[in-house]
Assembly symmetry: C2
């Protein structure tokens, strides 16, 4: 069992919900999202409140789809990118559900699914919600510049997804959450906060390599192997690194950051990023594919760059992590 | 099981380590701490790096006490107060151990013990480390004012503990980690970020009340019932609220924030706070009492105020959470 793959036998993904912003809803996955709002404030008066409002709508939509109310749920796990994870705390507060706050940067959606699954599998919770969110405006303000500044973006930079994905995890029904593997932090020595794909690629490769070294499966057993938000830059780097490791992912490797936008037409440089990226893509496109038979087995590798503005300004390198879950029929 | 107490049968606290700063080492618990440093920079060139260095020394000390090396450990869970939890990420990076990042503000030590316990209990990990840290200087800089500013502190304010506590959790040996209960976020409508005790007291009371409403035990079965860092202000409020609920804790309620300093002599206003407060007190005093027979059964209620500087400046109230673990012979 030492540092091994976690195997779940009684853990199901019974439903999902996704809420996105205007830009995401204008992208190629539009038809898969449950809710969107063209108002970047989501009816509130600050971007931070907007993110929490968006996440709350997502969780309420999930409950509506399941026919549940807050009181039916035993546990909620989640997180976001804001300082002190306040979007998630204020979202969880509204629900009154016992809450486990997580921080995994953009890997948080997978970390939340993994944590909720461990609780449901072992009977600590009968029904649990996992969620993760990010908001373009709150993230830009915090990590880079206020939008009004009109700063130029580097070609390797990514566009933080305004989006939330929420997942209902129960003992029975729906899709199987089959396995999980917590990530190990890797540091490629990158100091450029505008090239997080390059910082995260080695962590993704490490987790994929560890998984297949311990699994009975080969990449050809999966319909989709998806990283969270490496973006085009990080994806290409991950492919190179995997080749060096002698790993052939059979053309099955994709990346949520490349799927959520029409990268060039929507001028998103290297693609999407943020906790909401893999959360919204998994809760929409991947859930749909699995539910309607277009895919039977998916490996999802959530990727997170564990920097803060302070560590970046102090010249520190960017550590990254990649957590894995396997979801299938 | 619905929102019930989590019962652990195969989960032990086999050792602990604590590292603190100068002020904490001058306080009443001095003899119980493993390591201290009179240099607030811990040999580094920034307060953020200092916090991570302090946490790393704590984890290395824990491994030394146990006779283990990084490679023996399957999982590390932890968190801190810094933006994007960078102290913990940089600490976990050094270890190369699979990492689950948590955010529970000052409740993080208990949240980390709870999460690591769930993994060990169910065989997902054989050996896991839980840890949490805070640093007075990095916290003041981030939440309030740079220290050089010399701002006056309110009487209700608390002093962020410079400290880290780390816990080795395994299947056998040592003390029993008997039970856990994840917290529900409560919001008392407090907006004064200098009175976090008042914000956290209702969350602590809610968790204590929920625990005893579901447990076969009564408060008299415990030697110590300790909240994390309510401080003197929050402790008095919690006692009042418990009385209103008809709960008599038999004079057994104490608070890590009141234990770690000689509050008046050390001029710490309402007492200690920060993730490192309950972490260091539990890893030193409480672990010592349990190990040497001065206590047989302890309830630890980690308390966290889930605010950020942004939410405080935007006039939002302070949500709070309290997670519980029971540790005993």
């Amino acid at each position: 069992m030492k540092r091994g793959i976690i195997r779940f036998d009684n853990c199901r993904l019974t439903n999902t919900a996704s809420t996105v912003g205007k830009k995401e809803n204008e992208g190629p996955l539009s038809k898969y999202f449950d809710l969107f709002d063209n108002d970047e404030y989501f009816g509130t008066d600050s971007w931070e409140k907007a993110e929490s409002e968006m996440a709350s709508r997502c969780i309420d939509e999930l409950l509506k789809k399941c026919g549940y109310v807050y009181e039916d749920i035993d546990l909620i796990t989640g997180g976001d990118l804001l300082n002190q994870c306040v979007s998630s705390s204020f979202t969880a507060k509204r629900t009154g559900i016992p809450y486990i706050g997580l921080y995994g940067a953009c890997s948080t959606a997978v970390l939340a699914i993994l944590t909720a699954s461990a609780y449901v599998e072992n009977g600590y919770a009968e029904k649990a919600i996992a969620f993760a969110s990010s908001h373009y405006c709150s993230a830009e303000k915090q990590y880079r510049f206020p939008l009004d500044y009109g700063g130029q973006r580097k070609p390797t930079s990514q566009c933080t997804v305004t989006g939330c994905g929420a997942f209902m995890i129960e003992k029975e029904g729906g899709l199987k959450i089959k396995e999980g593997l917590p990530g190990i932090i890797k540091d490629a020595g990158i100091t450029d906060a505008d090239n997080m794909g390059a910082a995260m690629a080695p962590a993704a490769v490490d987790t994929i390599k560890r998984y297949f070294s311990m699994s009975d499966c080969s990449p050809s057993d999966f319909d989709i192997i998806a990283t969270g938000d490496l973006g085009r830059e990080g994806y290409e780097l991950a492919c190179e690194l995997l080749k060096k490791e002698g790993m052939d992912l059979c053309g099955k490797l994709t990346d949520c950051g490349m799927l959520i936008y029409d990268i060039d037409a929507q001028d998103t440089h290297s693609g999407g990023s943020g906790c909401g990226c893999s959360a919204a893509v998994t809760a929409s496109l991947f859930y749909n594919k699995l539910t309607y038979g277009d895919a039977k087995d998916i490996l999802l590798i959530g990727t997170g760059a564990l920097l803060s503005q302070t560590t970046a300004l102090q010249g520190q390198t960017i550590p990254a992590i990649a957590h894995l879950v396997r979801i299938g029929k």
